[in-house]
Amino acid sequence: MWQWLFKLSSPKWFYTISGQLMPWLIAITSILLVIGLVWGLAFTPPDYQMGENYRIAYIHVPAASIAMGCYYMMAGMAAAFLIWRIKMADMVAKACAPVGMTFTALALFTGSVWGIPTWGTWWIWDARLTSTLIMLFLFIGVMALRSAYDSEAAGAKACAVLSLVGVVNVPIIKYSVEWWNTLHQGASSLSLSNTSANPPEIWLPAFFCWLWFVWFLSDCHYFAYP
Amino acid sequence: MMLTVNNLYCERDERVLFQNLDFAVGEGEIWQIQGSNGSGKTTLLRILCGLNDDFSGEVLWQGEEQGKARQAFNQHVFYLGHAPAINKTLTAKENLSWHCASRGLTNSDQIKAALNSFNLYGYEDMPCYLMSAGQQRRVSLARMLLSQAKLWILDEPFTALDKQGVMELETLLAEHARAGGAIILTTHHSLQMNHPLQAVDLDLLAGLVAA
């Protein structure tokens, strides 16, 4: 298995494998996404507390988790690149930034859509929203730094350093709802209500993850072009 | 053997500067890196002194990999680049005493002697912005004498020097080599030193590879 992982770190091999897998993954993603969105947005029973308005959570929560996961992955790949000089790690990190940025923006946007009926405001400067906004700025900063460097090799290293400096912010997002009394729901928000025994919210994040995975993989595939 | 280079490969802007480059610099040797403008001489020097790690191959200091022996390497190697590394608002003496401290040396009493060797007697307390380019260059060269380094890596050391300065520098370089040190340099000036010169010609290497 280690040999297979080691092989995967070769851009050429990765390009070939990901190129073969792409059509299948795109097909699976499209199907799962449609099922997930339609099921979550239309067919789940209404929440006892929030009524119909909670449905946006089916997009908001996975998007937020994916965004944070993206940052962790970017930082992890950055560390791998700096320590072991694995070129593929830098390409993965490079793919993480725009994908993570979009999912962060999506999380913030859907969060605002949630906020208007539930809290009466589309924005508030509490700990979680502020730290998520910081993460959006950090993603943009990493992309800006990479494009400012003419030399690809130097730019890759610089972005790796910057990603690692900013990774301190991500645990703050996760734990901000525990450390401070904020308007944002606590972590128990996932056990929304007394719905059926197999609530679809278990499935939807997984569906959404496919979208991320395919998009992310396609970026890696593009960057691995030999 | 002081510095050994094995199978060095470097490319810049998708152009291969040099490949399969092997040579070894021992005590008492003076090496000149030759090549036309843009052939990669400065890049090679910067790789040799450890400022640039965008290459593949090995650079060994006394048998050990440069990255691992960095402290010993930095202790025994002196690099003179294009920029003089002199802060213009400080005096010559202040600049040199900081350079001494940065090499862990406390030979500040030798600063005057070093400046004298480059005909800068009496200039210790003059702020460097008041000096001419040639004088600033000579303050920078004075660092070379104060560094107590065995290997000198010099990028165009004769720039901005007048005829006498050139002759004096050539004498100094030969003396250093005779005392057991080593020198790697690039220059467009035709050297007339009292010491055997070995050369690495990057143009020739590139030509050979192409053929």
Partner: protein, 222 residues
């Protein structure tokens, strides 16, 4: 002389010989703070509410603008390369450089802050907490700014890239810093927030030099 003492001496000598580099960021702070009452009106009650925030934001921007003098001159005249080739431990040299930079850019802000805070009608009980918060916070800002500066010093057209990179990292310091003053004004304990700031300072002291050294090596190899 040890390398730390030698670096401190060198940096302070250079700073005092170009007084413009010290005075200009302070003048920016002074002028920018004065813009606020002119822009939002001189209502004392309103000003006293925004005073802490205004002082903090302008101090933060002043620190960021003063960052250029940290590595640029050394990069251009080649001293930065020599620094990286020095056999002395770089960690302490970098700390010494950042410390001397803070002494001439951050510390004067801490000293000037009470004057301008009272000009913005900040109540008296907020002034000492403001100074304490700035005293702990401005070194953090300087160190984070140094990371950004090390990353961008080699770029020819970096413009406001430094701002894009480090202002997001400044936000937590800003939030806690103004929080200290708000707690003091509401007669709540400030020790918790000051301790948090102190923890951030220690974290920055330990980790930012490593990031700065890595970034400087990248910039020098360009």
């Amino acid at each position: 002389m040890s390398i730390i003492a030698a670096t401190l001496r060198r940096e302070l000598l250079i700073a005092f010989r170009s007084p413009g580099e010290i005075i200009n960021p302070l003048m920016f702070f002074v002028i920018a703070v004065s813009l606020f009452p002119l822009g939002v009106g001189a209502n004392q009650e309103f000003l006293s509410e925004i005073a802490a925030g205004v002082i903090w934001v302008t101090a933060l921007l002043a620190v960021m603008l003063s960052m250029d003098s940290l590595f640029r001159a050394d990069y251009e005249d080649g001293s930065l390369e020599q620094l990286l080739l020095s056999p002395q431990p770089l960690y302490f040299v970098i700390l010494a450089k950042v410390a001397s930079h803070w002494l001439v850019s951050g510390l004067p802000l801490v000293i000037l802050a009470p004057i301008f805070a009272s000009m913005l009608s900040l109540p008296a009980e907020g002034i000492l907490p403001l100074m304490a918060a700035l005293l702990i916070g401005t070194p953090i800002l300087t160190m984070l700014g140094a990371v950004g500066m090390a990353l961008t010093v080699g770029l020819s057209k970096s413009g406001l890239l430094l701002a894009v990179l480090i202002l997001p990292l400044y936000i937590p310091v800003l939030v806690f810093g103004t929080g200290v003053v708000d707690s003091a004004l509401n007669s709540l304990a400030t020790s918790g927030l000051l301790a948090l700031l102190g923890a951030m300072l220690i974290l920055a002291l330990c980790l930012t030099p490593l990031a700065i050294i890595a970034a400087l090596r990248i910039s020098v190899s360009l």
